[in-house]
Symmetry: C2
Subunit: 363 residues, 2 copies
Amino acid sequence: MSTSTEAPLFAVVMAGGSGTRFWPLSRGRRPKQFLPFAGGRSLLAATVERLAPLVPVERIQVVTVAPVADATRRELPELPAANILVEPEGRDTAACLGWAGWRLAEVQPDAVMVVTPADHVIPDGGALRRALAAAAEVAQKRGGLVTLGVRPTRPETGFGYLELGEKEEERWGLAVHRVSRFVEKPDLERARSMVQAGNFRWNAGMFAWRVEVLQQAIRRYLPDLAAGLDRLMADARVEGEQPALARHYPTLPRTSIDFGLMEKADEVRAVATEFDWCDVGSWNGLAEILPAGEAGVTLGEVISLDAENCVLVSDGPLVAAVGVRDLVVVATNDAVLVVPRAQAQRIKELVAKLQEAGRDSLL
Amino acid sequence: MSTSTEAPLFAVVMAGGSGTRFWPLSRGRRPKQFLPFAGGRSLLAATVERLAPLVPVERIQVVTVAPVADATRRELPELPAANILVEPEGRDTAACLGWAGWRLAEVQPDAVMVVTPADHVIPDGGALRRALAAAAEVAQKRGGLVTLGVRPTRPETGFGYLELGEKEEERWGLAVHRVSRFVEKPDLERARSMVQAGNFRWNAGMFAWRVEVLQQAIRRYLPDLAAGLDRLMADARVEGEQPALARHYPTLPRTSIDFGLMEKADEVRAVATEFDWCDVGSWNGLAEILPAGEAGVTLGEVISLDAENCVLVSDGPLVAAVGVRDLVVVATNDAVLVVPRAQAQRIKELVAKLQEAGRDSLL
């Protein structure tokens, strides 16, 4: 697929995620984007593979954090080493995308940049590329910030929403709207009414903009971030990128691109997408993306006898489940988790307990 | 403690057990007697240690089977190597004890022999030794076959029972009765009525007899076994024990000492014991011998959060249990079992399924 944007198209993959919701499979040095939830491949590898027909790998940049930089390089052998940008520490998405934008502006000031997270599941790669191509064209031709608005499938309270305003046009068969407003994580009632209303979309962290538009917006709405990035880039030109990063990056303001920029900017558009999308937010989320068998959803070496509606995952020892239902079992070589599906969110309590107990090798 | 028997006292530990009820912790080459259910030590090591004050280790003989012979030797470094008797294959308890008796008769024809299984839990070693000393004295002084009658604590349908008849005397504070009859594994109603009656005891595989009395009884009630053992011993004298064993042992009749001998013999006595005893027949049985904590019974590296009435066992990976109840979780380095306590007996179905699937390395 090619796009009709005239400026060169770059992709930035945000791969700095961390988290404990997939413990014990995910660890500090193996966060969710490395997990084999994409038909045996990692979410990260699948993300890059999905983008590649639209954006050649030479122009795909992956932003990650120091602790998982080596793992990221190993996971993406097809990517030029220089395309893996390593934050000394995570400073949230505004700093991540700002830094990627400032760097890109130096080499390709007229670039259009599309952005996706590294840890989501989108089975229909073609549909994603169509939506990103549409967003890139809108960003190129109209300016402003463009986001993908994912059709909500349930009243999820863990996501942000955006309200579609005036429809301006169609591109690649998709409606392009002005965004009237963003709604932060709502309560259940509010989420229900938004889903029912039909003109609200999930804000799923996928964007497009011209690099110069991004810079202008950051200068206006996040001036401290802009100033920090200016200093970083100036020093990097003189002393090299690593020392400049080490000194300046940890001082960048920590805010999200949604809260810091998208919700404040005047000119925001959304491409209304129709594709299936899943952020795989927890072990239960696996049930949305993997086909269910007799025992429920299984991954890796699993044997079961009259198990029902379970999530059974092995990354090491065989998992043998007999007569259990509605249970999550995850086995790795050094830790095994057993928790009812309805209590899967309590993994963070468990991880906190392990931290208190000083069990760092398991985290 | 010393006993007043005049003849030398020998002990025979039956350690040829196999089975799948403790899968995945127990395996073909690591049956139940090797499991660390005795305060971190194996049941086998604890059994020998319990006997040692009564019977010096030089006179404790352990009968095991070829596949676990090396493991048995490693587990009992204090035992002279010659005291570990290795059956080429298991031929049930009559052959096991017959062979041990025939061998002992050659070197010590006036020996008294006490017998215990290797895989039971008896917390009060002193009480066991008192009972065995009493049984040995009765066997020495009165002749006949003597068994320990363990006080039943529940209407168990998986055990054999014996009925206490006339009380003949007391020794070491324990009543010695004639046995009126044996009852094979009863149904629940029958088991209940026996436990209520008060004069029934569990037949728990612990015996005492003079070696010559054992030989006479086997010659009378199991003449084929006696003939086979005669041939085995005769050939062993000429050509050595290994070739003789290899040729004759697999031909010995396969029957239990209970069914083949005790239930048929005229003169059987029982020492009525009062000590706590547990055969640890399944994962649920662990709850009888280990102290229960908040989560239930745990063994090895376990962490839990609001788990209740579980059996949580680790022999490798940490087991982390959150919000589960009435569940058995057993984790080893290559297999993890999860099964409700009420369905623990279904492990054998699971093991059969693994066998069908050719997963021999896990069995």
